[in-house]
Protein backbone atom coordinates (compact mmCIF):
# COMPACT_ATOMS: atom_id res chain seq x y z
CA UNK A 1 0.00 0.00 0.00
CA UNK A 2 2.68 2.43 1.07
CA UNK A 3 4.55 1.47 -2.05
CA UNK A 4 1.81 2.90 -4.21
CA UNK A 5 2.14 6.20 -2.42
CA UNK A 6 5.89 6.21 -2.81
CA UNK A 7 5.46 5.76 -6.49
CA UNK A 8 2.77 8.42 -6.56
CA UNK A 9 5.13 10.82 -4.83
CA UNK A 10 7.51 10.47 -7.75
CA UNK A 11 4.76 10.57 -10.35
CA UNK A 12 6.01 11.24 -13.85
CA UNK A 13 5.04 14.82 -14.51
CA UNK A 14 3.73 13.84 -17.92
CA UNK A 15 0.83 12.14 -16.18
CA UNK A 16 0.06 15.46 -14.52
CA UNK A 17 0.24 17.17 -17.91
CA UNK A 18 -2.21 14.71 -19.46
CA UNK A 19 -4.67 15.08 -16.62
CA UNK A 20 -4.52 18.88 -16.77
CA UNK A 21 -5.11 18.76 -20.52
CA UNK A 22 -8.10 16.48 -20.04
CA UNK A 23 -9.42 18.64 -17.22
CA UNK A 24 -9.55 21.54 -19.66
CA UNK A 25 -10.55 19.77 -22.87
CA UNK A 26 -13.41 17.61 -21.57
CA UNK A 27 -15.45 20.49 -20.10
CA UNK A 28 -14.98 22.45 -23.34
CA UNK A 29 -16.07 19.57 -25.56
CA UNK A 30 -19.02 18.50 -23.42
CA UNK A 31 -20.18 22.02 -22.56
CA UNK A 32 -20.13 20.85 -18.98
CA UNK A 33 -21.65 23.24 -16.47
CA UNK A 34 -20.42 23.00 -12.91
CA UNK A 35 -22.94 24.63 -10.61
CA UNK A 36 -21.42 27.71 -9.03
CA UNK A 37 -21.71 28.20 -5.30
CA UNK A 38 -21.33 31.67 -3.89
CA UNK A 39 -19.98 31.89 -0.37
CA UNK A 40 -19.76 34.85 1.96
CA UNK A 41 -17.63 36.83 -0.42
CA UNK A 42 -17.40 40.35 -1.86
CA UNK A 43 -19.49 39.41 -4.89
CA UNK A 44 -22.37 38.43 -2.62
CA UNK A 45 -21.90 41.68 -0.69
CA UNK A 46 -22.36 43.68 -3.88
CA UNK A 47 -25.40 41.68 -4.88
CA UNK A 48 -27.02 42.13 -1.49
CA UNK A 49 -26.32 45.84 -1.45
CA UNK A 50 -28.03 46.27 -4.81
CA UNK A 51 -30.87 44.03 -3.68
CA UNK A 52 -31.48 46.11 -0.58
CA UNK A 53 -31.67 49.47 -2.36
CA UNK A 54 -35.21 50.85 -2.53
CA UNK A 55 -36.72 50.40 -6.03
CA UNK A 56 -36.18 53.38 -8.29
CA UNK A 57 -32.74 54.15 -6.91
CA UNK A 58 -30.32 56.01 -9.17
CA UNK A 59 -27.24 53.93 -9.85
CA UNK A 60 -24.22 55.09 -11.83
CA UNK A 61 -22.73 52.26 -13.83
CA UNK A 62 -19.31 53.27 -15.08
CA UNK A 63 -17.86 51.19 -17.91
CA UNK A 64 -14.16 51.71 -17.37
CA UNK A 65 -12.69 49.08 -19.66
CA UNK A 66 -12.03 48.29 -23.31
CA UNK A 67 -12.45 45.23 -25.56
CA UNK A 68 -9.18 43.62 -24.38
CA UNK A 69 -10.71 42.83 -20.99
CA UNK A 70 -14.18 41.96 -22.26
CA UNK A 71 -13.96 38.22 -21.45
CA UNK A 72 -13.92 39.06 -17.76
CA UNK A 73 -15.83 42.32 -17.58
CA UNK A 74 -18.61 42.06 -20.14
CA UNK A 75 -20.36 39.14 -18.38
CA UNK A 76 -20.24 41.26 -15.23
CA UNK A 77 -21.76 44.20 -17.07
CA UNK A 78 -24.60 42.05 -18.36
CA UNK A 79 -25.32 40.43 -15.01
CA UNK A 80 -25.24 43.73 -13.13
CA UNK A 81 -27.44 45.51 -15.68
CA UNK A 82 -29.93 42.65 -15.52
CA UNK A 83 -30.05 42.81 -11.74
CA UNK A 84 -30.51 46.59 -11.71
CA UNK A 85 -33.33 46.33 -14.23
CA UNK A 86 -35.03 43.50 -12.35
CA UNK A 87 -34.96 45.58 -9.17
CA UNK A 88 -36.42 48.58 -11.07
CA UNK A 89 -33.41 50.78 -10.43
CA UNK A 90 -32.45 53.53 -12.86
CA UNK A 91 -29.11 53.10 -14.56
CA UNK A 92 -26.98 56.11 -15.41
CA UNK A 93 -24.27 54.70 -17.64
CA UNK A 94 -20.99 56.48 -18.30
CA UNK A 95 -17.41 55.65 -19.12
CA UNK A 96 -13.97 56.76 -18.01
CA UNK A 97 -12.47 54.78 -20.91
CA UNK A 98 -13.26 55.89 -24.49
CA UNK A 99 -14.33 52.47 -25.72
CA UNK A 100 -16.28 51.67 -22.57
CA UNK A 101 -19.31 53.73 -23.62
CA UNK A 102 -20.04 51.49 -26.61
CA UNK A 103 -19.59 48.31 -24.58
CA UNK A 104 -21.98 49.65 -21.97
CA UNK A 105 -24.49 50.58 -24.65
CA UNK A 106 -24.43 46.97 -25.90
CA UNK A 107 -25.15 45.57 -22.46
CA UNK A 108 -27.87 48.07 -21.56
CA UNK A 109 -29.76 48.26 -24.84
CA UNK A 110 -29.93 44.50 -25.42
CA UNK A 111 -31.21 43.80 -21.91
CA UNK A 112 -33.51 46.81 -22.00
CA UNK A 113 -35.32 45.30 -24.98
CA UNK A 114 -35.70 41.85 -23.49
CA UNK A 115 -36.77 43.09 -20.06
CA UNK A 116 -39.17 45.73 -21.38
CA UNK A 117 -37.24 48.73 -20.11
CA UNK A 118 -37.06 52.08 -21.84
CA UNK A 119 -34.16 54.31 -22.65
CA UNK A 120 -34.40 57.71 -20.91
CA UNK A 121 -36.94 56.33 -18.42
CA UNK A 122 -35.00 53.42 -16.97
CA UNK A 123 -31.55 53.91 -18.36
CA UNK A 124 -29.37 56.44 -20.07
CA UNK A 125 -25.86 56.32 -21.47
CA UNK A 126 -24.05 59.59 -20.84
CA UNK A 127 -20.99 58.40 -22.72
CA UNK A 128 -17.28 58.91 -22.25
CA UNK A 129 -15.70 61.88 -20.56
CA UNK A 130 -12.01 62.60 -20.07
CA UNK A 131 -10.48 63.67 -16.80
CA UNK A 132 -10.84 60.58 -14.62
CA UNK A 133 -10.70 61.57 -10.96
CA UNK A 134 -10.93 65.31 -11.66
CA UNK A 135 -14.11 64.75 -13.62
CA UNK A 136 -15.61 62.67 -10.79
CA UNK A 137 -14.94 65.44 -8.27
CA UNK A 138 -16.88 67.82 -10.50
CA UNK A 139 -19.79 65.40 -10.65
CA UNK A 140 -20.02 66.15 -6.95
CA UNK A 141 -21.02 69.74 -7.68
CA UNK A 142 -23.00 69.37 -10.88
CA UNK A 143 -23.50 66.33 -13.04
CA UNK A 144 -25.30 68.31 -15.65
CA UNK A 145 -22.40 70.68 -16.14
CA UNK A 146 -20.22 67.73 -17.08
CA UNK A 147 -22.82 65.93 -19.17
CA UNK A 148 -24.96 68.61 -20.86
CA UNK A 149 -26.12 65.88 -23.23
CA UNK A 150 -26.08 62.10 -23.30
CA UNK A 151 -24.04 59.96 -25.70
CA UNK A 152 -26.53 60.64 -28.53
CA UNK A 153 -26.50 64.39 -27.91
CA UNK A 154 -29.93 64.43 -26.32
CA UNK A 155 -29.93 67.35 -23.85
CA UNK A 156 -30.03 66.54 -20.15
CA UNK A 157 -33.23 68.59 -19.73
CA UNK A 158 -35.07 66.34 -22.16
CA UNK A 159 -34.22 63.09 -20.39
CA UNK A 160 -37.06 62.43 -17.94
CA UNK A 161 -35.18 60.10 -15.60
CA UNK A 162 -32.46 62.69 -15.03
CA UNK A 163 -34.81 65.41 -13.82
CA UNK A 164 -34.24 65.83 -10.11
CA UNK A 165 -30.66 64.62 -10.31
CA UNK A 166 -28.16 67.39 -9.72
CA UNK A 167 -25.02 65.97 -8.28
CA UNK A 168 -23.56 62.79 -6.83
CA UNK A 169 -25.65 63.41 -3.71
CA UNK A 170 -28.66 62.16 -5.65
CA UNK A 171 -26.95 58.87 -6.49
CA UNK A 172 -27.46 55.86 -4.26
CA UNK A 173 -24.66 53.66 -5.62
CA UNK A 174 -21.79 53.78 -8.07
CA UNK A 175 -20.64 50.55 -9.71
CA UNK A 176 -17.42 50.80 -11.70
CA UNK A 177 -16.41 47.95 -13.98
CA UNK A 178 -12.76 48.68 -14.19
CA UNK A 179 -9.78 47.35 -16.11
CA UNK A 180 -7.24 49.73 -14.62
CA UNK A 181 -6.68 53.45 -14.30
CA UNK A 182 -8.90 55.48 -14.27
CA UNK A 183 -11.40 53.16 -12.68
CA UNK A 184 -12.47 51.87 -9.30
CA UNK A 185 -9.68 53.61 -7.40
CA UNK A 186 -10.67 57.00 -8.81
CA UNK A 187 -14.31 56.38 -7.88
CA UNK A 188 -13.38 55.27 -4.35
CA UNK A 189 -11.12 58.24 -3.70
CA UNK A 190 -13.18 60.95 -5.37
CA UNK A 191 -16.80 59.87 -5.01
CA UNK A 192 -16.58 57.45 -2.08
CA UNK A 193 -14.17 59.22 0.23
CA UNK A 194 -15.22 62.79 -0.62
CA UNK A 195 -18.96 62.55 -1.05
CA UNK A 196 -19.70 59.39 0.89
CA UNK A 197 -21.35 57.62 -2.05
CA UNK A 198 -21.32 53.82 -1.75
CA UNK A 199 -18.92 52.32 -4.32
CA UNK A 200 -19.07 48.82 -5.72
CA UNK A 201 -17.25 47.41 -8.65
CA UNK A 202 -15.94 44.66 -10.82
CA UNK A 203 -12.39 44.19 -12.01
CA UNK A 204 -10.02 41.79 -13.72
CA UNK A 205 -8.51 38.98 -11.68
CA UNK A 206 -5.09 40.60 -12.01
CA UNK A 207 -6.10 43.84 -10.33
CA UNK A 208 -8.41 42.32 -7.70
CA UNK A 209 -5.81 41.79 -4.92
CA UNK A 210 -4.97 45.50 -4.95
CA UNK A 211 -8.66 46.39 -4.61
CA UNK A 212 -9.39 43.83 -1.90
CA UNK A 213 -7.72 46.22 0.55
CA UNK A 214 -10.57 48.69 -0.04
CA UNK A 215 -12.99 46.02 1.14
CA UNK A 216 -11.01 45.52 4.34
CA UNK A 217 -11.22 49.25 5.05
CA UNK A 218 -14.90 49.27 4.03
CA UNK A 219 -14.32 51.88 1.34
CA UNK A 220 -16.20 49.58 -1.04
CA UNK A 221 -19.47 47.77 -0.54
CA UNK A 222 -18.57 44.81 -2.73
CA UNK A 223 -16.37 43.67 -5.56
CA UNK A 224 -16.52 41.20 -8.41
CA UNK A 225 -13.05 39.81 -9.05
CA UNK A 226 -12.32 38.26 -12.44
CA UNK A 227 -14.27 35.48 -14.06
CA UNK A 228 -15.25 33.97 -10.69
CA UNK A 229 -16.79 37.27 -9.62
CA UNK A 230 -18.72 37.45 -12.90
CA UNK A 231 -19.91 33.86 -12.48
CA UNK A 232 -20.96 34.62 -8.91
CA UNK A 233 -23.12 37.52 -10.02
CA UNK A 234 -24.65 35.47 -12.80
CA UNK A 235 -25.50 32.77 -10.27
CA UNK A 236 -26.98 35.25 -7.79
CA UNK A 237 -29.07 36.95 -10.47
CA UNK A 238 -30.20 33.53 -11.67
CA UNK A 239 -28.59 33.29 -15.10
CA UNK A 240 -28.06 29.55 -15.17
CA UNK A 241 -25.73 29.02 -18.10
CA UNK A 242 -24.15 32.43 -18.30
CA UNK A 243 -20.96 33.06 -20.20
CA UNK A 244 -18.87 33.34 -17.06
CA UNK A 245 -20.39 30.25 -15.43
CA UNK A 246 -19.55 28.25 -18.55
CA UNK A 247 -16.06 29.71 -18.61
CA UNK A 248 -15.54 28.71 -14.99
CA UNK A 249 -16.20 25.00 -15.61
CA UNK A 250 -12.79 24.03 -17.04
CA UNK A 251 -11.24 26.30 -14.40
CA UNK A 252 -13.00 24.45 -11.59
CA UNK A 253 -12.12 21.01 -12.91
CA UNK A 254 -8.47 21.93 -13.43
CA UNK A 255 -8.21 23.59 -10.02
CA UNK A 256 -9.62 20.50 -8.38
CA UNK A 257 -7.14 18.36 -10.31
CA UNK A 258 -4.21 20.47 -9.13
CA UNK A 259 -5.46 20.39 -5.54
CA UNK A 260 -5.76 16.61 -5.72
CA UNK A 261 -2.16 16.44 -6.92
CA UNK A 262 -1.06 18.49 -3.94
CA UNK A 263 -2.96 16.20 -1.57
CA UNK A 264 -1.53 13.04 -3.17
CA UNK A 265 1.95 14.54 -3.03
CA UNK A 266 1.60 15.19 0.68
CA UNK A 267 0.15 11.77 1.50
CA UNK A 268 3.03 10.20 -0.39
CA UNK A 269 5.48 12.44 1.42
CA UNK A 270 4.19 11.47 4.85
CA UNK A 271 3.94 7.74 4.19
CA UNK A 272 7.48 7.81 2.89
CA UNK A 273 8.66 9.75 5.92
CA UNK A 274 7.03 7.26 8.29
CA UNK A 275 8.66 4.40 6.50
CA UNK A 276 11.98 6.21 6.62
CA UNK A 277 11.49 6.85 10.35
CA UNK A 278 10.82 3.16 11.07
CA UNK A 279 13.98 2.04 9.37
Amino acid sequence: MADIFTRMGNLDRRIIFILIALAVIIPILTDLIIPNIVGAEPSRDLFEFVDALPPGSNVILSFDYDPSTMPELQPMAEAVVRHLFLKDHRIIGMALWPQGAALGQDAMSSLSDSLGKEQYLDWVNLGYKTGGGVMIVRLGTSMRAIFPTDRDNVPWSEIPMLQGINSLDDIQLVISLSAGDPGIIAWVMMAGDRYDIPIGGGCTAVSAPQLYTYLQTEQMVGLLGGLKGAADYETLVGIENGEAIRGMSPQSVAHIAIMLFIIIGNIAYFTQKRKGGAR
Binding site: I16, I20, I37, E41, L215, I262, G265
Partner: protein, 207 residues
Protein backbone atom coordinates in the same frame (compact mmCIF):
# COMPACT_ATOMS: atom_id res chain seq x y z
CA UNK B 1 42.16 55.25 -18.56
CA UNK B 2 40.05 54.19 -21.51
CA UNK B 3 37.11 53.90 -19.15
CA UNK B 4 37.03 57.59 -18.30
CA UNK B 5 35.00 58.71 -21.31
CA UNK B 6 32.36 55.95 -21.02
CA UNK B 7 32.06 56.64 -17.29
CA UNK B 8 31.69 60.36 -17.95
CA UNK B 9 28.92 59.60 -20.43
CA UNK B 10 27.21 57.36 -17.88
CA UNK B 11 27.43 60.05 -15.22
CA UNK B 12 26.17 62.82 -17.51
CA UNK B 13 23.23 60.89 -18.91
CA UNK B 14 22.25 59.57 -15.46
CA UNK B 15 22.32 63.05 -13.96
CA UNK B 16 20.34 64.54 -16.86
CA UNK B 17 17.58 61.99 -16.28
CA UNK B 18 17.47 62.75 -12.57
CA UNK B 19 17.57 66.55 -12.92
CA UNK B 20 14.95 66.44 -15.66
CA UNK B 21 12.61 64.70 -13.24
CA UNK B 22 12.85 67.45 -10.64
CA UNK B 23 13.45 70.56 -12.76
CA UNK B 24 10.87 71.50 -15.40
CA UNK B 25 12.94 74.50 -16.57
CA UNK B 26 14.97 74.48 -19.77
CA UNK B 27 17.45 73.13 -20.73
CA UNK B 28 16.72 70.07 -18.58
CA UNK B 29 13.27 69.44 -20.04
CA UNK B 30 14.61 69.33 -23.57
CA UNK B 31 17.75 67.37 -22.68
CA UNK B 32 15.78 64.77 -20.74
CA UNK B 33 13.23 64.28 -23.49
CA UNK B 34 15.89 63.96 -26.18
CA UNK B 35 18.03 61.62 -24.17
CA UNK B 36 15.19 59.19 -23.60
CA UNK B 37 14.49 59.09 -27.29
CA UNK B 38 18.17 58.77 -28.18
CA UNK B 39 18.71 55.91 -25.87
CA UNK B 40 15.72 54.11 -27.38
CA UNK B 41 17.30 54.60 -30.82
CA UNK B 42 20.67 53.27 -29.67
CA UNK B 43 19.10 50.25 -27.96
CA UNK B 44 16.98 49.50 -31.03
CA UNK B 45 19.87 49.95 -33.41
CA UNK B 46 21.80 47.37 -31.40
CA UNK B 47 19.39 44.67 -32.54
CA UNK B 48 21.54 44.23 -35.67
CA UNK B 49 24.33 43.10 -33.39
CA UNK B 50 22.20 40.27 -32.08
CA UNK B 51 20.89 39.38 -35.52
CA UNK B 52 24.42 39.11 -36.86
CA UNK B 53 25.29 36.85 -33.95
CA UNK B 54 22.24 34.66 -34.52
CA UNK B 55 23.11 34.20 -38.19
CA UNK B 56 26.77 33.60 -37.38
CA UNK B 57 25.94 30.91 -34.80
CA UNK B 58 23.63 29.02 -37.11
CA UNK B 59 25.79 29.32 -40.24
CA UNK B 60 28.71 28.08 -38.21
CA UNK B 61 26.68 25.19 -36.83
CA UNK B 62 25.63 24.20 -40.32
CA UNK B 63 29.13 24.54 -41.71
CA UNK B 64 30.79 22.50 -38.98
CA UNK B 65 27.89 20.04 -38.83
CA UNK B 66 27.63 20.43 -35.05
CA UNK B 67 25.00 18.62 -33.00
CA UNK B 68 21.46 19.29 -34.30
CA UNK B 69 22.85 21.33 -37.18
CA UNK B 70 20.00 20.23 -39.42
CA UNK B 71 17.65 22.59 -37.61
CA UNK B 72 19.85 25.64 -38.04
CA UNK B 73 18.66 26.33 -41.60
CA UNK B 74 15.12 26.50 -40.18
CA UNK B 75 16.15 29.41 -37.98
CA UNK B 76 18.03 31.11 -40.79
CA UNK B 77 15.16 30.74 -43.25
CA UNK B 78 12.58 31.84 -40.68
CA UNK B 79 14.66 34.92 -39.88
CA UNK B 80 15.30 35.87 -43.49
CA UNK B 81 11.70 35.32 -44.57
CA UNK B 82 10.46 37.74 -41.92
CA UNK B 83 13.13 40.32 -42.79
CA UNK B 84 12.53 40.17 -46.53
CA UNK B 85 8.73 40.25 -46.25
CA UNK B 86 8.95 43.04 -43.72
CA UNK B 87 11.17 45.14 -45.96
CA UNK B 88 9.02 44.52 -49.03
CA UNK B 89 5.54 44.82 -47.57
CA UNK B 90 6.07 46.74 -44.35
CA UNK B 91 4.09 46.09 -41.21
CA UNK B 92 0.67 46.96 -42.64
CA UNK B 93 -2.19 44.70 -41.59
CA UNK B 94 -3.15 41.73 -43.76
CA UNK B 95 0.00 41.87 -45.86
CA UNK B 96 2.36 38.85 -45.84
CA UNK B 97 4.58 40.04 -42.97
CA UNK B 98 1.62 40.72 -40.70
CA UNK B 99 -0.05 37.50 -41.87
CA UNK B 100 2.92 35.39 -40.81
CA UNK B 101 3.13 37.23 -37.52
CA UNK B 102 -0.55 36.78 -36.74
CA UNK B 103 -0.72 33.15 -37.85
CA UNK B 104 2.65 31.82 -36.76
CA UNK B 105 4.67 34.02 -34.40
CA UNK B 106 1.71 35.06 -32.25
CA UNK B 107 0.25 31.53 -31.89
CA UNK B 108 3.68 30.17 -31.01
CA UNK B 109 4.04 32.83 -28.32
CA UNK B 110 0.57 32.08 -26.97
CA UNK B 111 1.36 28.36 -26.93
CA UNK B 112 4.62 28.79 -25.02
CA UNK B 113 2.78 31.08 -22.61
CA UNK B 114 0.07 28.47 -22.10
CA UNK B 115 2.64 25.83 -21.14
CA UNK B 116 2.48 27.60 -17.79
CA UNK B 117 -0.86 25.94 -17.07
CA UNK B 118 0.96 22.59 -17.06
CA UNK B 119 3.98 23.86 -15.23
CA UNK B 120 2.07 25.48 -12.37
CA UNK B 121 0.47 22.07 -11.82
CA UNK B 122 3.72 20.12 -11.83
CA UNK B 123 5.47 22.74 -9.70
CA UNK B 124 2.61 22.74 -7.19
CA UNK B 125 2.61 18.95 -7.01
CA UNK B 126 6.31 18.78 -6.30
CA UNK B 127 6.94 21.88 -4.22
CA UNK B 128 3.88 22.10 -2.01
CA UNK B 129 4.81 19.45 0.54
CA UNK B 130 4.66 20.07 4.26
CA UNK B 131 8.34 19.30 4.80
CA UNK B 132 9.05 22.20 7.15
CA UNK B 133 7.06 25.04 8.58
CA UNK B 134 7.85 27.53 5.84
CA UNK B 135 6.89 25.07 3.13
CA UNK B 136 3.75 24.30 5.11
CA UNK B 137 2.80 27.97 5.15
CA UNK B 138 3.42 28.27 1.43
CA UNK B 139 1.32 25.18 0.83
CA UNK B 140 -1.53 26.17 3.12
CA UNK B 141 -1.97 29.65 1.81
CA UNK B 142 -1.74 28.51 -1.82
CA UNK B 143 -4.27 25.76 -1.16
CA UNK B 144 -6.71 28.09 0.61
CA UNK B 145 -6.53 30.64 -2.19
CA UNK B 146 -7.07 27.95 -4.83
CA UNK B 147 -10.09 26.68 -2.89
CA UNK B 148 -11.45 30.21 -2.72
CA UNK B 149 -11.04 30.66 -6.47
CA UNK B 150 -13.52 27.92 -7.41
CA UNK B 151 -17.01 26.94 -6.23
CA UNK B 152 -15.79 23.91 -4.30
CA UNK B 153 -14.35 26.20 -1.63
CA UNK B 154 -17.70 27.73 -0.77
CA UNK B 155 -19.21 24.26 -0.91
CA UNK B 156 -16.90 23.10 1.89
CA UNK B 157 -17.36 26.23 4.00
CA UNK B 158 -18.89 29.48 2.87
CA UNK B 159 -16.15 31.54 4.55
CA UNK B 160 -13.35 30.05 2.44
CA UNK B 161 -13.71 32.69 -0.31
CA UNK B 162 -13.33 35.28 2.44
CA UNK B 163 -10.12 33.61 3.55
CA UNK B 164 -8.87 34.01 -0.01
CA UNK B 165 -9.76 37.69 -0.01
CA UNK B 166 -8.03 38.19 3.33
CA UNK B 167 -4.88 36.35 2.27
CA UNK B 168 -4.66 38.40 -0.90
CA UNK B 169 -5.51 41.71 0.79
CA UNK B 170 -3.37 41.46 3.92
CA UNK B 171 -0.40 39.06 3.94
CA UNK B 172 0.03 39.22 0.17
CA UNK B 173 -0.03 43.02 0.16
CA UNK B 174 2.36 43.16 3.12
CA UNK B 175 4.77 40.73 1.49
CA UNK B 176 4.67 42.48 -1.86
CA UNK B 177 5.25 45.86 -0.25
CA UNK B 178 8.24 44.61 1.74
CA UNK B 179 9.77 43.09 -1.39
CA UNK B 180 9.08 46.24 -3.42
CA UNK B 181 10.48 48.71 -0.88
CA UNK B 182 13.55 46.53 -0.31
CA UNK B 183 14.14 46.04 -4.02
CA UNK B 184 13.77 49.78 -4.60
CA UNK B 185 16.62 50.40 -2.16
CA UNK B 186 18.69 47.87 -4.06
CA UNK B 187 17.90 49.64 -7.32
CA UNK B 188 18.71 53.08 -5.89
CA UNK B 189 22.04 51.91 -4.47
CA UNK B 190 23.00 50.02 -7.62
CA UNK B 191 22.03 52.98 -9.82
CA UNK B 192 24.10 55.32 -7.69
CA UNK B 193 27.08 52.98 -8.00
CA UNK B 194 26.61 53.02 -11.77
CA UNK B 195 26.17 56.76 -12.11
CA UNK B 196 29.15 57.54 -9.88
CA UNK B 197 31.29 54.92 -11.59
CA UNK B 198 31.85 52.89 -8.42
CA UNK B 199 30.66 49.72 -10.17
CA UNK B 200 32.19 49.35 -13.60
CA UNK B 201 32.69 45.66 -14.18
CA UNK B 202 29.92 45.69 -16.80
CA UNK B 203 32.27 47.65 -19.05
CA UNK B 204 34.62 44.69 -19.12
CA UNK B 205 38.34 44.82 -18.57
CA UNK B 206 40.00 47.77 -20.17
CA UNK B 207 42.72 49.45 -18.20
Amino acid sequence: MRLIIPLAITFTSGMIMILNFFIPHQPFALLGENLQEWYMIVASGAIFLGSANLLHVHFRKTRLKLKNWKYSPVTIVGFLVMIVLGLIYGVTENLPFDYLFMNMVAPMGATMFSLLAFFVASAAFRAFRASNWRATLLLTSAFLVMLGQVPIGAMIWDKIPLAKVWLMAIPNTAGQRAVMIGAAMGVVATSLRMIFGIERSYLGGAD
